[in-house]
């Protein structure tokens, strides 16, 4: 189990950040290698995600469900996916929240997530995957900040 406990700082107001985070398409554009597909009847989305573990690429076909709590500027993401070549599967549960004063161009986004990789590849790459996910989180913060109009996470 890979645990993520990060706090992303973005130089934009919580309202600006929330406007992006509450749009699944905008969020996905901030995730490197991710691509959003069709919306399903239950409100979830099909998605594709290509992750580089070392020089090898693992392409997951995934299903993503996003739930929002507008009042608290909070949300959760549940995703599961499978790579058809290596048979690697992942499941992720993530909670996030946008914190800050709307009068100040500075927001914090605490993120808590648990990600589980299963399959034969998983035990080989577990420690590496941990670092890959940390790098992806940093990249997400950077892209989110850029999208919010800031330049640095």
């Amino acid at each position: 189990m890979i645990e993520v406990n990060e706090r992303i700082e973005v130089p934009s107001t919580p309202q600006t950040v929330w406007a992006i985070l509450s749009d699944p398409n905008a969020v996905v554009e901030c995730v490197e290698g991710a691509e959003l597909g069709d919306k399903q009847e239950d409100g979830s989305f099909d998605a594709k995600m290509t992750v580089k573990f070392g020089p090898a690429k693992v392409s997951f076909a995934a299903n993503v469900m996003v739930n929002y709590e507008e009042a608290n500027k909070a949300g959760s993401v549940t995703a599961r996916g499978r790579d058809r070549i290596s048979g690697t599967k992942f499941t992720t549960e993530m909670q996030f929240k946008v914190e800050g004063d709307d009068a100040v161009a500075q927001s914090a986004i605490p993120i808590k997530a648990e990600c589980e990789l299963t399959g034969r590849l998983a035990h080989l790459i577990e420690s590496g995957a941990n670092l890959v996910i940390k790098r992806m989180t940093a990249s997400f913060a950077q892209k989110l900040a850029e999208r919010c109009g800031g330049t640095k996470a």
């Binding site: 573990f53 090898a56 690429k57 693992v58 070549i85 590849l121 420690s127 590496g128 941990n130």
Partner: protein
């Protein structure tokens, strides 16, 4: 004549010239008879080392290696070496004494059949004295036809029975037909259809291709179809003189090779099992179709899949037939054998990452390159497993008559025995072994065996004073690494104490000087090279640190 004498005659008739092992009361009479029959015995200090030597002999000569151990505790010492030989598909016969049939409570009694099953060896038991010939023939028959190790279990008391049959022994080779598995023409035509549509083909050759002598046919097929050539780990450096050879497919591939392999549209695998490591769980070839040529009825690929097209054939015969079919069709294309690819290979990515090297230690990367350059190409190369193999398997690039990596069963310590057996099997041709400190220490007692038989093997002990694989895994998990750090003595001095030669080296100049001394007069030697712990191999950096290197 006693049964043990007949058993010795039978082994000799099977072609046995050398036996590796340790004497005990379950095999000593047979060994005595072997000596009279002109079979050379190599007495070792640990039975498992004897089996490892027979394994190396088999891998180098493709003839059954023979080892021996006494009953019970002698036989159980064979465990790890047996599994390693089984995973290496090495044909060998282990002559093991067994407790007397007349004494169930014998101190050294062991269910050797159950043991053989557990260590992945075939089991043949001489159930009666009259079955001596049949038991030996069956053991060699299985070893030869199934290419696997066989435990021949021979009760001690039955060995002492009288043998009064004067018929000549009929060896297993007399009942095994010699035939090459030739391909079905329609299967070849389908393979040619696929290959002629390929734009980015690659040919992956394994030991099966090498053993079948398919080299020239593989080169011709690559030239005709515009294919790159890659090898499995076990066929490392074979055909490396081809200008579009990209090295190993799999864990030990360079970043440049990974980029090219990932872009392939058709893979022609020849005598290669295409296991999870060769294909990196399939991820190395995300879009490719597979043509698989192998003499077995079928070979399952990594993740329980089958090739898109399977051709049952001897490697050489299959590739020759494919060449003939494509010639008939006047098919020839440049494919990937272009100036652009040649330039990529000429400027292949090199690991130049900067690591802080501890004082008195060496960076293993330039050391490997320097040794590959310094040691002449007629000197054979053996590579142990463990962390250091991540340097040697990538950085030693020269073609040599024998290049033998380890890794079967993922255990350390098994390559020194295999290297000794292979050196003896190759007619005492000098060789070097690149291995780690834990591996060298595991069977250091058998450096004595190397000295007694004057085996011209130079062991480079890449000594980082720790269990490398575990050290880096602990570090990647932010755990205390100290538990994996186990210092050794000066192994050069240990080698000298055994009566061989040895040196402790902390600089490249010292290593080169010691190497030149060995090259001038090859013999048993250990060079204890103190290497840095800071430098992490490419495979580990990819797997444990997720680095794109």
């Amino acid at each position: 004549m006693k049964v043990y004498e007949r058993l010795s005659q039978a082994f000799k008739a099977e072609g046995t010239t050398n036996v590796f092992g340790m004497m005990g009361d379950g095999n000593m009479y047979w060994q005595y008879a072997n000596e009279k029959n002109g079979i050379k015995m190599h007495e070792v200090r640990h039975e498992g080392v004897g089996l490892g030597m027979a394994d190396g002999w088999a891998r180098a000569t493709r003839n059954p290696g023979v080892c021996t151990a006494t009953c019970g505790p002698g036989t159980t010492q064979l465990a790890t070496a047996f599994v390693t030989a089984a995973r290496a598909s090495s044909p060998l016969v282990a002559f093991c004494g067994e407790y007397p049939v007349s004494d169930d409570e014998y101190t050294q009694a062991l269910d050797q059949s159950a043991f053989a099953h557990g260590v992945e060896a075939a089991f043949v038991r001489m159930g009666t004295a009259e079955d001596a010939d049949e038991a030996v023939r069956k053991a060699f028959y299985i070893a030869r036809t199934q290419s696997r190790p066989v435990l021949l279990s021979v009760p001690m008391d039955l060995q002492q029975k009288e043998w009064d049959d004067d018929e000549p022994y009929k060896p297993s080779t007399s009942i095994i037909p010699k035939r090459v598995v030739t391909p079905n023409q329609s299967a070849i035509e389908q393979a040619a259809d696929m290959l002629s549509k390929a734009k980015k083909p690659v040919i992956v050759v394994g030991r099966g291709a090498m053993w079948s002598g398919a080299g020239d046919e593989v080169r011709a097929l690559a030239a005709r179809t515009g294919a790159l050539i890659a090898t499995t780990l076990q066929a490392k450096n074979w055909l490396v003189d081809d200008e579009y050879h990209i090295g190993i497919s799999g864990t030990y591939a360079t970043k440049t090779a990974i980029g090219l392999l990932s872009d392939s549209d058709v893979v022609v695998a020849v005598g290669a099992s295409l296991n999870r490591y060769t294909t990196h769980e399939g991820l190395l070839y995300p879009e490719a179709q597979f043509i698989h040529i192998d003499p077995k009825a079928h070979v399952m690929l990594s993740r329980g899949k089958g090739a898109d097209h399977y051709v049952q054939s001897d490697g050489k015969a299959g590739v020759a037939a494919l060449n003939a079919e494509l010639t008939k069709r006047n098919f020839k294309q440049m494919g990937r054998r272009t100036g652009e690819v040649k330039e990529k290979l000429a400027n292949a990515w090199e690991d130049r990452a900067d690591f802080k090297i501890e004082e008195g230690t060496l960076d293993p990367r330039p050391l490997c390159l320097a040794l590959d350059d310094l040691v002449p190409t007629d000197i054979n190369l053996f590579v142990g497993s463990g962390h250091t193999s991540g340097f040697t398997n990538i950085l030693f690039r020269k073609s040599r008559p024998i290049v033998m990596p380890g890794h079967f069963f993922g255990c350390i310590g098994q390559m020194m025995p295999a290297a000794v057996g292979a050196v003896i099997g190759s007619g005492m041709k000098p060789a070097i072994l690149m291995d780690g400190d834990a591996s060298t220490m595991m069977h250091i007692g058998d450096f004595d065996t190397m000295v007694r038989y004057n085996v011209p093997l130079l062991i480079y002990c890449m000594n980082n004073q720790c269990l490398g694989a575990e050290y880096y895994k602990l570090e990647a998990h932010n755990m205390k690494v100290d538990t994996s750090c186990i210092p050794t003595a000066d192994l050069g001095a240990v080698a000298r104490a055994f009566g061989g030669r040895g040196a402790l080296c902390r600089t490249e100049e010292e290593v080169k000087k010691a190497t030149k001394e060995w090259l001038a007069k090859p013999g048993p030697m250990i060079i204890d090279v103190r290497v840095s712990r800071s430098v992490v191999t490419l495979p580990y950096r990819r797997v444990h640190y997720g680095e794109d290197v």
